[in-house]
Symmetry: C2
Subunit: 444 residues, 2 copies
């Protein structure tokens, strides 16, 4: 972890860190979690850490792509509805059944989709090109084997010729043994999991989802559902950020609110370390006399352990000026200390915590997508000089526009719940005129 | 459930159902699940079934937006660094602390962000506009209350005047009691959960995530990790579709492969019904002699129960021609029977099952997003007349292009794992030239 205590050469005033410097610091320090072997079904959304090669060709054997009859090409040459080829049915070849019957001259085997092409057969004619063994016109389906076992014997009339290998899927036509199935770094979505199953992988080596512990701080916080007494407010940050961590791909634990007591906070964090790959706190990081996160964590670094400890910084950013970042505990578990205002903490999460979670997962794409959009507003938006401002917006992809939702106050959580994007006002812009093209961060 | 046994007036040949007819039938039959009261933290991703109004204004009381000093405006009028206003500090107002001290003429209270504005005070001056009670120059922060309790007493020098209500967030400036916080139909993401917590809701009435049971059928199927004997293949559908169901928002249960035995299949389905809001099967729905899903489920409908039973249909679609849909069991649990080829089952899932899952959740947006893209390919793509073809594609949003990945074979699962989209070739198109603009379904 960085223990730099002064901001770099950023775009803000010299006493402030820029958003980019802070983010760079975080992403420079957070390492992907060590991989583990995981059951295939549990690995959904995880990142592969190995190239997966194909052990056995897919399909593993020549097989039929249709329900029909396995035939020899010469036997059905010139066949038509008027002059059908009449073949002796020697049995059934069902998918997964045992030894298939051999098909000799003048013979056919009833064959099902996916079943191996029997010895002697060269092509498959779909059942719809035959009488299905009924002795009458063109069939639309086979008679079920259970209900009409005689379908696997007797005669079948074939109404059309078949080319060599017609309706046969060749062994290895999907992938060959030794082919690269999936490359290291692949994110395992449903089709990738399907492919791994298809080549027989019951487990894979992936980076696990990070376990993120979220705790809010503040003696004013009451849990939702309880009664609100004088001077208290409900704890919303721990709920919003736990949900956001889950959304980012983490296994998230909500610890809830800790009172403004440095010892209690330190004890709670130490207690939680055992199940945390990342700790997130909200509140208590500013310049007040009761900012216990700062008080409790400014001194946790072990001077003999380079890189440990939490730095508290002022960022050239609005909302979200006060931020803490560093590592804590024997395993140097990363910790992000976010400001306590609901909008500040949520915006900080999106900008700093979400990328950290995705970096822990080993994902290459850690950031929210961004877009350029035309600002729709009645009057110019004002923004403090030297600060990067993030306003809540409603983005319209069709029109390529974004409309501010609510004001800039960092306590306006109702407006946040109506927004789907963040409007970025750069450091050097103090007024954003209606119609200006601006950058937008697209949320979920 | 629809029990229509013949296709409507679709775009396909008269014996085939169109993709749109089948989808319409499914969405016409699937009803959103009954809502339940759910703990707020568990309701992530669910749809609200009630308008939520604000019970108590947010913020619930006038409070400070800064760490600083609560003052009377007249006392700091004309204050400057050269001629500071000197005020007597009467105590601390921390967020969540008890009764705040009253601020009389010539007095100030040290106040923290979020703490209630004390009686008598009219504005807040940030600590940076004062000496922080130190008697020297401008402060950058307060001294922590624990380390320096004397900060809450003595004198403070204020260097700037303050306007009435400066740095005060008014009670109700976010939302007022009685305001609509969130409307019925809102999907609960992190900011919405944050807002509900902020207004004190510990639980909400939402539609639960549907429980989807996925089972593959086929005597040829072996579980990944086990040994593959002659004529067998690995079960991949149950893995891919369980993951896809989870991805769509469901709680998904993978039952795995059932052999081609109608009685066993019927027994397994009956057994699973208790935990299913939706059943998905793969395989056994075509025209073969061992298509046991069709055999087992064609007769499950109770003739005395209108709307029960499963219809098996041929769709004007490639891949995915054979499909089954209907309801089963005493609760008329919807069941979708998909074809067994891996690509067919996955494409069918995306087109029919995913929308059904999202309809069960009560979501308004049930479909994958679509885009128009220019086809990048060396030679024209061919497609059978009268069928809507779905080819696997790699979509480039920047360039607005899509490139086919792999061929059209419904067994090509390796190519599917490299695709991010489906290229739609309409029923009346038999050849799609390079450079043509075409429709693309964007997969997650």
């Amino acid at each position: 972890m960085s223990s730099t205590a002064t901001p770099g050469a950023g775009s803000g005033p010299s006493s402030l860190w820029s958003v980019d410097e802070h983010l760079e610091d975080i992403l420079g320090a957070v390492r992907p979690l060590d991989p583990i072997e995981m059951q295939l079904a549990d690995a959904q959304g995880c990142v592969l850490v190995e190239d997966i090669t194909v052990p056995v060709a897919l399909p593993p054997f020549d097989n039929s792509s249709m329900d029909g009859y396995a035939v020899r090409v010469a036997d059905v040459a010139g066949a038509s509805e008027e002059f059908p080829a009449v073949l002796t049915v020697v049995g059934d070849v069902a998918a997964g059944s045992g030894e298939p019957p051999a098909v000799g001259p003048g013979q056919a085997a009833r064959i099902m989709t996916g079943a191996p092409l029997p010895p002697g057969a060269e092509a498959v004619v779909p059942v719809e090109w035959t009488d299905g063994g009924t002795g009458s016109g063109a069939a639309t389906a086979m008679r079920p084997a259970g209900a009409a076992p005689e379908g696997a014997t007797g005669e079948v009339r074939v109404h059309r010729p078949a080319e060599l290998r017609a309706h046969v899927r060749a062994r290895g036509s999907d992938v060959q043994a030794g082919d690269l199935a999936l490359a290291e770094g692949t994110v395992l979505g449903p089709p990738q999991i399907g492919l791994l199953a298809a080549i027989g992988r019951g487990s894979v080596r992936v980076r696990p989802r990070p376990r993120v512990v979220v705790l809010s701080t503040g003696s004013e916080l009451v849990q939702p559902g309880e009664e609100l007494s004088e001077g208290k407010i409900y704890d919303s940050n721990s709920y919003a950020l736990t949900a956001a961590a889950r959304d980012a791909g983490a296994i998230a634990y909500r610890v809830g609110a800790v009172t403004d007591d440095a010892d209690e906070l330190r004890a709670t964090i130490e207690d939680q370390l055992i199940r945390a790959d990342l700790l997130v706190t909200t509140g208590g990081v500013s310049v007040g006399a009761y900012d216990v996160v700062k008080e409790a964590l400014s001194s946790v670094g072990d001077e003999d352990e380079p890189g440990s400890g939490i730095d508290f910084r002022a960022l050239a950013m609005q909302p979200g000026k006060p931020q803490g970042f560093g590592s804590i505990g024997p395993d140097h578990t990363p910790l992000l200390a976010l400001p306590g205002n609901p909008v500040s903490s949520y915006v900080s999460f999106e900008l700093f915590v979400r990328p950290a979670i995705r970096a822990l997962m080993g994902l290459k794409s850690v950031h929210r997508p961004r877009a350029r959009a035309e600002l729709r507003t009645d009057k110019a938006l004002t923004s403090p000089a030297g600060k990067r401002q993030f306003l809540r917006g409603a983005y319209d992809a069709e029109k390529g526009t974004v409309t501010p939702v609510g004001g800039s106050g960092s306590h306006l959580i109702a407006a946040l719940a109506q927004a789907d994007s963040l409007i970025v006002v750069p450091e050097d812009v103090t007024s954003l005129e209606p119609g200006t093209e601006t950058e937008v961060v697209l949320l979920g």
